[in-house]
């Protein structure tokens, strides 16, 4: 018996009305149903942060939410950070500072860093490291990521 629930969500400004099974994770809904594959699934149990998206402006792990729970919410994914032509200042600084190698963690990193800069436009290094602690990266050793966020925070002003 497969029971479906109707949900209405706004993702990157577009409204979607879809039917989902209760056990459908938000991240799977974004990637498989909406084909927004920018958001990555790392561990699927909340350890790595690769799937971080903004739910009503707040960073949350989309592997630790069911799509049905996002009913009525506004979701922002990494696809929405640039206009499709030019990178956002944060993305540009990630590139300039080599803040990624394999890039698997990058969507989550960018979303968390975007939320950080919205909340605190001039964070200290310590504040950056604390805020970003939920996003794991196995390539960079984090320093280039911190530098990129610092650089983006300086550009905004």
């Amino acid at each position: 018996m497969k029971m479906l629930h109707e949900i209405a969500v706004t993702v990157n400004g577009d409204r979607f009305v879809e039917e989902v099974e209760a056990r459908y994770l938000l991240v799977d809904f974004l990637r498989q149903r909406l084909r927004l594959t920018g958001t990555h699934v790392g561990c699927a149990h909340g350890a790595c942060g690769a799937c971080t998206v903004l739910v009503d402006g707040q960073p949350m792990r989309s592997c630790l939410m069911f799509a049905v729970q996002a009913n009525g919410s506004e979701i922002t994914t990494v696809e929405n950070l640039s206009d499709g032509e030019r990178l956002s200042p944060l993305q540009e600084e990630f590139r300039r500072h080599h803040a990624l190698q394999c890039g698997y963690c990058t969507p989550g990193m960018l979303i968390s860093a975007t939320a950080l800069l919205a909340e605190n436009p001039r964070p200290t290094e310590e504040q950056i490291r604390t805020y970003m602690a939920g996003n794991l990266c196995r390539c960079t050793g984090y320093t280039p990521i911190v530098r990129a966020i610092e650089a983006a925070s300086r550009r905004k002003h």
């Binding site: 056990r23 149990h45 942060g49 971080t52 592997c63 939410m65 729970q69 939920g134």
Partner: protein, 291 residues
């Protein structure tokens, strides 16, 4: 799609929640923030047949100021609890503990009630509840009952909540003005899973004697351990180096950790000892800075 199928309810009132619990009993699990339950479901370690999602129950999302306490509805988000002015002034131990309770993306979703009802042995908030003698308000279709924190945590992920019940709210007593509060935690990373911790609230009076002291160790046994023997030793005494050393030693011997594949028991004992020492030194330092 990771978890096995389940029946999903998202009631909008407490009345509906307890009615659903009465109907489904032990087959149902309440879902608060889901930051522990969903990983367990994704890993298929938990397979609830019915999920009662509390995320639409607005009445459970309030922080109310009682006469001498703050009452947190079960669905107050961790990040809201840690940032609200009422918490910071009335119950400063709570935000200090919650800084260790997972990264920000988790704390945006996790809840006060969920962290208490989940009762992980290394979780911070249960330690705070035991240290402060919080009262937990448990609801069912039959009505409400209150359980003291010391009687609420029964062991690993085991609490006094019966299958047809849910945690509705928690009452944390307000801290005395000027009390020293700190949460200490040992772990690989601040936001990661802890090895052991200590919730501490210490009030040193004008005379320099300890007028109030509350200590609870987390991660050392299957439920938080209130360090009553240390509290009794220090109450009414002036803290000096010798007494602090004695109290720390007593704290270490008051907990009964066991070896696990990662951490030997004696390490957890030493951590408790060290944290008691740091808490008492911190209280003295804070008082000296204010005199």
């Amino acid at each position: 799609m990771k978890p096995p199928p389940f029946l999903y309810h998202a009631p909008e009132s407490l009345e509906e929640v307890v009615a659903l619990l009465a109907e489904h009993g032990g087959d149902a699990r309440c879902m608060a923030g889901g930051q522990s339950l969903i990983p367990l479901m994704n890993l298929r370690m938990a397979r609830p047949e019915v999920i009662i999602d509390l995320n639409r129950c607005r009445e459970l999302m309030r922080i109310d100021r009682g006469q001498d306490s703050l009452v947190y509805g079960a669905m107050v988000r961790a990040r809201e609890a840690e940032q609200s002015d009422e918490t910071v002034t009335g119950c400063p131990l709570i935000p200090k503990a919650l800084l260790h309770a997972g990264p920000i993306a988790v704390r945006n979703r996790s809840t006060v009630g969920g962290m208490l009802a989940h009762a992980d042995r290394t979780a911070e908030l249960p330690g705070v509840a035991v240290a402060l003698d919080a009262m937990l308000v448990i609801a069912s279709a039959e009505g409400e009952r209150e359980v003291a924190a010391t009687e609420f945590f029964l062991g690993d992920m085991t609490t006094a909540i019966e299958p047809n019940e849910m945690l509705k709210a928690t009452r944390f007593p307000l801290a005395s003005t000027g009390a020293y509060t700190e949460f200490f935690e040992a772990g690989v990373r601040q936001e990661g899973v802890a090895i052991a911790g200590l919730a501490a609230q210490v009030l040193i009076g004008e005379s320099g004697a300890v007028e109030g002291i509350r200590l609870a160790a987390t991660g050392v046994e299957s439920a938080p351990v209130r360090l009553k023997s240390v509290e009794e030793l220090l109450l009414g005494s002036k803290l000096d180096e010798l007494l602090i050393a004695e109290a720390a030693k007593l704290g270490g011997s008051a907990v009964g950790p066991v070896d696990d594949p990662f951490v030997p028991a004696r390490y957890r004992r030493r951590v408790t000892e060290t944290f008691v020492k740091r808490a008492l030194q911190g209280a003295v330092n804070q008082r000296n800075a204010n005199v």
